[in-house]
């Protein structure tokens, strides 16, 4: 049974902004037995199209979904779990947590100290530029969300300042192909969680600075700066109504540029050894991220310069309903490739759950087969199959 608090594809319907498109090209939208069949395989679906795609999958796979059912508690009981929901209680021998890692926005503590005269939005509440007052916007975080919203708000004519911490820089295309084609084909996305050098870090990586547009444009910080977006360092604190930014901006640019270079080196190596060299365009390298002459270290939030803040500072999961002691001090679920340390309890759809591709639409099938394989053996061992 699949319990869904809202409708199928709920977060795509309710928790994302109007102009949102997938970062991944449509041909990468592969679910078990269902691929993208539309006219634009190299294009990027809108949130609405993703919703339709997932709804269609729910129908053709005949998944036993119960919508409008909010799970308020899961706790161990007897040989399984007692599940309390808004529509009644049930007992289950096994439970798969598929609520994802993005249940609530992550905000820094000092967001409380922002003057009330400045409107604050997160990706959950943001729908489009029309919602915001006229005037300057401070976008916090240079993840995919951050750069996309900064670009959109800048296009609306507003002055935009983007606060940049560590980020992942990627070109949209490389040597003539979508960069995610390279991630997929080269096997990088198939790197397993038990092979990744620093798993904790890999699981916390911000989404790469990509946007899905028909022009397949790159949306890195140089592109943003060219449209007039002001770049400042990572927002560190609020003091006396002033936002204080890090003076270490140059190094986060270096870190991202160096990491990109290493990635492209890996792609080029793979292209050589896998015989793709002839078909691909020539290797490219991209201009280093340009450091502003002198980036501002502070901004007076009381001056009226900034009328709104958009927090693109990431998300966190909400396990408030999970009454099993498997959540760590930082609110993260403990698991080994999706197998949680409580018999019969599993997880799917978390970052690098089993592979780097785990949180992408094309990553769920292999993960699901393996995790459910474990679940099936668990039931069989107990004679419950």
């Amino acid at each position: 049974m699949v319990l869904e608090r809202g409708e199928v594809a709920n977060s795509w319907r309710r928790e994302r902004w109007d102009s949102l498109r997938l970062l991944t090209p449509n041909w990468q939208s592969r679910l078990p037995g269902l691929g993208y069949e539309g006219p634009d395989p190299d294009g990027y679906m809108t949130a609405g199209e993703v919703t339709e795609f997932i709804e269609h999958f729910a129908k053709v796979s005949r998944a036993p979904v119960r919508t409008g059912v909010n799970v308020t508690s899961v706790r161990r009981a007897g040989d399984g779990y007692h599940v309390t929901t808004s529509r009644g209680e049930m007992h289950a021998r096994t439970v798969v947590i598929a609520s994802g890692a993005c249940n609530a926005p992550s905000l820094p503590q000092f967001s409380d100290a922002v003057p009330a005269s400045v409107e604050q939005l997160t990706p959950f509440g943001y729908r489009g530029p029309g919602q915001l007052p006229d005037g300057g916007v401070l976008v916090v975080g240079a993840s995919a969300t951050g750069v996309q919203l900064a670009a959109e708000l800048r296009r609306s004519g507003r002055p935009v300042t983007l606060s940049v911490g560590e980020h992942v820089r990627l070109p949209r295309t490389y040597r003539g192909r979508d960069v995610l084609w390279w991630m997929d084909e080269s096997g990088l996305w198939d790197e397993r969680y038990d092979e990744v050098e620093d798993l904790t870090r890999a699981r916390r990586l911000p989404s790469p600075q990509l946007v899905g547009t028909p022009e397949r444009a790159s949306l890195d910080l140089n592109a943003l700066a060219a449209t007039g977006v002001e770049l400042v360092g990572r927002w560190a604190a609020v003091r006396d109504g002033r936002a204080l930014f890090s003076g270490g901006l140059r190094n986060v640019f270096s870190l991202a540029d160096l990491k990109l270079e290493r990635l492209l080196d890996t792609f080029d190596e793979w292209a050589k050894t896998d015989g793709y060299e002839a078909e691909a365009g020539p290797p490219e390298r991209f201009a280093p991220t340009r450091v502003p002459e002198s980036a501002r270290l502070q901004l007076d939030l009381r001056s009226g310069e900034i009328r709104a803040i958009v927090w693109a500072t990431g998300f966190r999961p909400d396990y408030g309903w999970l009454d099993v002691p498997v959540v760590d001090a930082k609110g993260q679920l403990g698991h080994d490739g999706g197998v949680v340390a409580s018999p019969g309890l599993y997880a799917l759809g978390l970052p690098v759950l089993r592979r780097r591709r785990s949180t992408f639409i094309c990553g769920i099938e292999d993960d699901a087969r393996e995790v459910i394989g474990h679940l099936a053996r668990f039931l069989a061992e107990r004679g419950w199959a």
Partner: protein
């Protein structure tokens, strides 16, 4: 991976990292210095004890530092300026970081030298212009590194060193500082 010899006991640091992940109280250190005015703008500082891993600790020796201002500041030049100590701190912290990261990444260093420059408009501290800040306007560190590594790998060492540097963070990010009278 070949064992390189940069002299950093990376194994001990990695073990400490694992242990301290689950023992945050033990990770709380307090570094200390005491200062005594000597007259003019000359002070003598001593550093010996510190707190960490749940108990009082100490350096093997007590270290003494003099600070003063130079003659162009109408002072006696009995020691370097307080602000030069920050540059000393930054250079040494980043250098230690380069060595540690190099050791961890199996890169053999042959020499690591750096120069640090802090651009400072002294009208701030003289009170000559309230639009001028007291501290540095800009700090620039230039590393010259000879190592068994590509330029890209060396740049990555330096970038990673900044990422994990205490003094780099203390200079680039705001820090709460409380000054009281006993």
């Amino acid at each position: 991976m070949t064992t390189v010899a940069n002299g950093v006991n990376v194994q001990a640091l990695l073990e400490a990292r694992e242990v301290l992940k689950d023992a945050p109280e033990a990770a709380q250190f307090t570094w200390r210095a005491s200062a005594k005015w000597q007259g003019g703008v000359h002070s003598t500082m001593k550093v010996q004890s510190f707190f960490g891993l749940g108990e009082e600790q100490g350096h093997n020796d007590e270290w003494t530092f003099e600070a003063d201002h130079p003659e162009v500041f109408a002072a006696e030049d009995n020691g370097i300026t307080p602000i030069e100590y920050l540059l000393v701190g930054l250079a040494s912290c980043l250098t230690a970081g380069v060595a540690s990261v190099a050791q961890n990444r199996g890169i053999q260093l042959r020499s690591v030298e750096s120069t640090v420059e802090g651009a400072h408009d002294v009208r701030g501290i003289l009170g000559a212009d309230t639009d001028v800040r007291n501290g540095f306007n800009d700090v620039k560190v230039t590393f010259t590194i000879d190592a068994d590594a590509s330029r890209q790998e060396i740049e990555a060492l330096v970038a990673q060193s900044q990422k994990r540097s205490a003094v780099f963070d203390a200079l680039t990010n705001p820090t709460n500082v409380t000054v009281e009278v006993a």
